[in-house]
């Protein structure tokens, strides 16, 4: 069984943030009092704030085509297009983005999760597309929430982040509702999601079925995609303002 050493990852994060320099700045000098040491100016501790980073994963790719949508469009193409739009929109708003894939290539699920976990992202989004349902489906892991621990089993690492994932899902839900896009919330068991150590939401974009108020819109409609992307970007901006590392 694969394990993720959460504490080690957190330790690396603390080191990068300069917390170690802060706690013991003069320890080496105190150990050797015989050596005359000129009083050196004490440099102010460099506290680098942890980076707010969003990992965007365009699901499928390469030989894994995903779903076949209407008119022969493949899910892997739609997800890459939406992910690219989302990256541009987020960067324009000053949010750092790490893309798991930027081309039509195979990426193993385990590598996707590893990329997100090593980045210690503040939010992880996996983009999917489907031909069924209506509007945008938001999914979080169906694992039972647990407390964070030093070691997390690979298959259920997300369990320590499920509560945060649900909060992130709620943010995105609100933003999509504000944009008058039908939203479905759910919990699902997807192997990739369950191994991620970050607040993770799977965003599955479906066509909008015409209703009393909503008009029919295809997944391939650029205007619809832009609306979805803008709403997600707004939600992530809100997530950043509420985010406490």
């Amino acid at each position: 069984m694969r394990w993720i050493e959460a504490a080690a990852v957190l330790g690396m994060a603390a080191g990068a943030a300069g917390f170690q320099q802060q706690s013991q700045p003069a320890a080496p000098l105190a150990q050797n009092p015989a050596v005359p040491v000129a009083p050196a100016p004490v440099a102010p501790p460099r506290v680098q704030p942890p980076q707010f980073l969003v990992v965007v994963d365009a699901a499928h790719g390469g030989s894994d085509i995903g779903a076949r949508l209407r008119n022969g469009v493949l899910e892997k193409e739609i997800t890459l297009g939406i992910a690219g739009r989302l990256r541009s929109t987020l960067r324009a708003r000053g949010v750092d983005v790490l893309m798991v894939r930027t081309a039509d290539v195979d990426v193993a699920p385990v590598n996707r999760a590893e990329t997100a976990n090593h980045a210690q992202a503040s939010a992880c989004l996996t983009i999917h597309a489907t031909a069924t349902g209506s509007g945008v489906h938001l999914f979080t892991s169906s694992l039972t929430p647990t407390a964070n621990a030093r070691f997390l089993p690979w298959q259920t690492a997300q369990s320590a982040y499920v509560t945060q994932s649900m909060k992130l899902e709620s943010e995105i839900d609100s933003a999509l509702a504000h944009a008058a896009i039908p939203v479905t919330l759910g919990r699902a068991s997807v192997a990739l999601m369950d191994s991620m150590t970050c607040p993770e939401v799977a965003v599955e974009v479906a066509p909008v079925v015409a209703g009393h108020v909503s008009t029919a819109r295809a997944v391939t409609d650029p205007g619809y995609q832009k609306q979805v992307v803008d709403a997600i970007a707004a939600a992530l901006e809100q997530w950043r303002s509420d985010w406490k590392p």
């Binding site: 031909a131 039908p182 479905t184 759910g186 919990r187 699902a188 068991s189 997807v190 192997a191 599955e204």
Partner: protein
Amino acid sequence: MISKFQKYLFFAMLVACVGMAAFLIRLRNRAQDRLAAQATAAPAEMAETTSPPTTVTLYVPNDLDDSLTTVDTSLSLPAGRNAQARVILEKLVEAYNAPGSTHPMQVASGIDDVYFVPVPQGKDGTGGGEMAVIDLSGALAAAQPSGIEPETLTLLSMMATLHANLPAVTEVHFLVDGQARETLAGHADLTRTYLAGEEPSVQRSALRVPGEENGLRVTGYGLPVASQQVSEPASPLRATGSRLPATLPAPGSGLPAAARSGE
């Protein structure tokens, strides 16, 4: 120089090897014949030992609002729990395949078999019950629309249906054509064992369309606390004398709506 004794020994061993191979091949053929005979006898047994019609509850998915709706229907169930489970799930697949289905799937037969394995009870009193291993047909996996939502709904509807009609089933594992498989159609995880009675498996989501009333009130993270009233029985199961598609089960109750409506 090879001695005469070594030659005899060699030929004796060769004859023994050939004999053992023939014996094993014969055993294998007999085992295959026995399994084939059992498989062909099963439908006959089902036809002969069916009981009077009983009401079973199906959890039929709706792709549009990501919900499961209970549908009660009458079925003549065969003897034997494996066969009963298979017949009930086949009826559910029939609902997928019916015209006007809310979870359309063009597949004639979706369940190869259902097995039951006892779940050992833990020291803390957890566990117990039975694990149902649902062996899906490759045709169903091929016909399954790809996507997190449709695949999850298929699994949830099967688990909820099985748990509602065979409450001893506490865990469910899925196979496809008798083999373990990573996903159903690219998304839903088939490597894990699901808890049949867990809340998300029977009720986990809600639709909220701005400006459109659908009878659901959403609290927390998407669990509906009000039931959805279906105004007319759009179910293709009406012809079998089923009752109306009733309501969504309340979170955590795990009870079919029909049971609650009868209170």
